[in-house]
């Protein structure tokens, strides 16, 4: 499912003294099959944008917010807002939001804190039960839960009757993710999926997301503060700043603008930092900012610019 947003604006507390424009004329297209990254500060509008993708921030009662303001006399009419996820037209009141939510899975920050059921099986099955039109048999539920737990790397038979609150932190997060992907959404959106984990846990979660991307959900969108995470995992990334989209680029090009990112108060990956430091010393490294490529390019450079005096290259 392709995600298309054009001229999307959103204001919290409209017409009150606390009015804050969270999104200002945002246009952004995410192609099917991407592993897309969204970067930005707290308050940059990234969470607001993401919550539009499955209609959480677009209930029918808030339709008004989508209607563009009437143009002033003598001005061209403002362009219409477009928000489409696959065939779902989110600006249309009649859209089937349940079906949309089934197709767009959303994992919030610290998803383990949203677990509630008595057993792991019941918690994972929750979404499935909610979304299916007719009542599923226990066998159907079990097989779907089993598959979801397996893909996140957990053992169904071992965990199904356990309370989700007895599990370790990493397991809880996996169970929570299983509870979202159990309906086999085509698009999976995750807000800071690795937040609060130790480095090993972070790596495992990113590996899990790649597995999901290969086998389970066509499109994966992650919101992250961690530029290393973005540069190593994403096909493209959008930078949000002050309610607008600053740019949408593959990491390889994005992190060449290290200075601009720093101005926006954002970090750059370690590899980009090293490239900048090397550049100061007259060494130009042109890499895609993954650790492997950076190392390969540095070694290439060393081979083509061997140290004078016959030192090791």
């Amino acid at each position: 499912m392709r995600i298309v947003a054009e001229h999307l604006s959103y204001t919290y507390n409209a017409k009150s003294p606390f009015e804050t424009a969270a999104l200002k004329d945002v246009s952004l297209t995410i192609e099917e099959g991407e592993f897309f990254g969204i970067i930005g500060h707290t308050g940059s509008g990234k969470s607001t944008f993401v919550q539009h993708l499955n209609g959480l921030l677009r209930l029918p009662s808030s339709m008004k917010k989508y209607r563009p303001k009437k143009p002033k006399k003598g001005q061209a009419p403002l362009p219409a807002t477009v928000l489409k996820v696959g065939d779902f037209d989110l600006t249309d009141k009649k859209t089937n939001f349940r079906a949309l939510r089934r197709s767009v899975g959303m994992v919030f920050q610290y998803p383990e804190y949203q677990l509630f059921a008595e057993t792991v099986r019941d918690d994972v099955a929750f979404g499935l039960k909610n979304f299916s039109e007719e009542k599923l048999t226990d066998e159907e539920l079990d097989s779907a839960v089993r598959a979801a737990l397996e893909v996140v790397g957990l053992d169904f038979d071992e965990l199904k009757d356990k309370s989700p609150f007895e599990l370790s932190g990493g397991q809880k997060r996996r169970v929570a993710i299983a509870g979202v992907i159990v309906t086999r959404p085509e698009v999976l959106v995750l807000d800071e999926p690795a937040a609060g984990l130790d480095p090993l846990g972070k790596r495992e979660i990113m590996e899990l997301l790649h597995r999901l991307h290969r086998e389970w959900c066509k499109t994966v969108v992650i919101v992250s503060h961690d530029m290393d995470e973005i540069s190593e995992n994403c096909t493209r990334a959008a930078v949000f700043a002050d309610g607008r989209v600053e740019c949408v680029l593959p990491p390889r090009e994005l992190f060449r603008h290290a200075q601009r990112l720093t101005e926006l108060g954002l970090d750059v990956p370690l590899t980009a930092k090293l490239c900048a430091l090397l550049q100061e010393r007259g060494i130009e490294i042109d890499c895609d900012f993954t650790v492997q490529d950076f190392c390969a390019k540095v070694l290439d450079y060393a081979r083509s610019h061997p140290k004078q005096g016959g030192g090791r290259a």
Binding site: R102, M106, Q109
Partner: protein
């Protein structure tokens, strides 16, 4: 933190913000007394005037004040409607069974609605202009005499201030959990009452667990900072009366006296 207007501190610097919280609490009490002593529109007008003055002196935008009123619109209209219908009275315009709309009934309802609105605005002004901490300090200080009968005033005050501090955090959290469960297809709107109550379990369980976890961690953090209860404790923010408090005190006193005098000497038409 989108819709918790009532009881939220509004951080600007103003005359009212700087008043001693004890005085503000006493002023509120005096004001409520004045509202209910005011039996004619002159008295109520005086109350409204004082309140308007306070709003201006507090630098609170009018919209914010009105938002507090909006929360109780239904209550005000409902009680007013009941009173119009059941008040009785002499100048009857319309009558049907036990219902009766009279001139006196309408006047009384308007009166009551005005009182309620003034009451709500005045109490929300207190919370807009006073941080939860100084509010609790004020309450604690005013209730100090009760320590003599061994009521744990200090602990109660602290509990209150921590509760106020965590309201926005837990409100945010509720919203987040709600969104997360909605994303998993939870439906909180349709169905009968039983279905609706059942539907809140996926919100309530995580919310309670989170509240306990937070309480636990906060307890440790307080212990680590040498908290041992009210004994030996000092206060950084000593409550002190200043000229501002004197002014506010005079205004409050004048209002109550004025209203009482108007009640006695000014025979208004209503």
């Amino acid at each position: 933190m989108k819709d918790v207007s009532f009881g939220q501190f509004y951080p600007v610097d103003s005359f009212v913000h700087r008043l001693d919280p004890r005085l503000k609490i006493l002023f509120l009490i005096a004001y409520i007394v004045a509202i209910f002593l005011a039996t004619n529109f002159y008295g109520l007008a005086a109350c409204a005037a004082v309140l308007l003055l306070t709003v201006v002196a507090a630098h609170i935008p009018l919209g914010k004040v009105l938002r507090a009123v909006r929360g109780v619109t239904f209550l005000v209209l409902f009680t007013a409607a009941l009173n119009v219908l059941f008040y009785g009275g002499e100048t009857v315009y319309w009558e049907w069974g036990i219902f009766c709309v009279s001139f006196e009934g309408i006047i009384f309802s308007v009166f009551l609605a005005l009182r309620l609105v003034l009451l709500v605005v005045c109490s929300s002004l207190l919370t807009y202009t006073t941080t939860p901490v100084s509010l609790t300090d004020g309450v604690e200080s005013l209730l100090t005499p009760l320590k003599w009968i061994r009521l744990p005033i200090h602990e109660l005050a602290l509990v209150m201030s921590i509760a106020l501090r965590f309201i926005p955090i837990l409100t945010d959290e509720t919203q987040r959990i709600r969104n997360a469960q909605m994303a998993r297809g939870a439906d909180f709107e349709s169905g009968g009452i039983i279905k609706k109550v059942k539907a809140t379990i996926p919100i309530l369980v995580p919310l309670l667990l989170s509240a306990f976890r937070r309480a636990d961690e906060l307890g440790d953090a307080m212990d680590a900072r040498c908290y041992t209860g009210g004994k030996h404790r000092t206060k950084y923010k000593k409550l002190r009366f200043t000229w501002r408090d004197a002014v506010a005190f005079l205004v409050g006193a004048a209002l109550v006296t004025g209203v009482v005098l108007m009640r006695i000497y000014l025979s208004a038409p209503y």
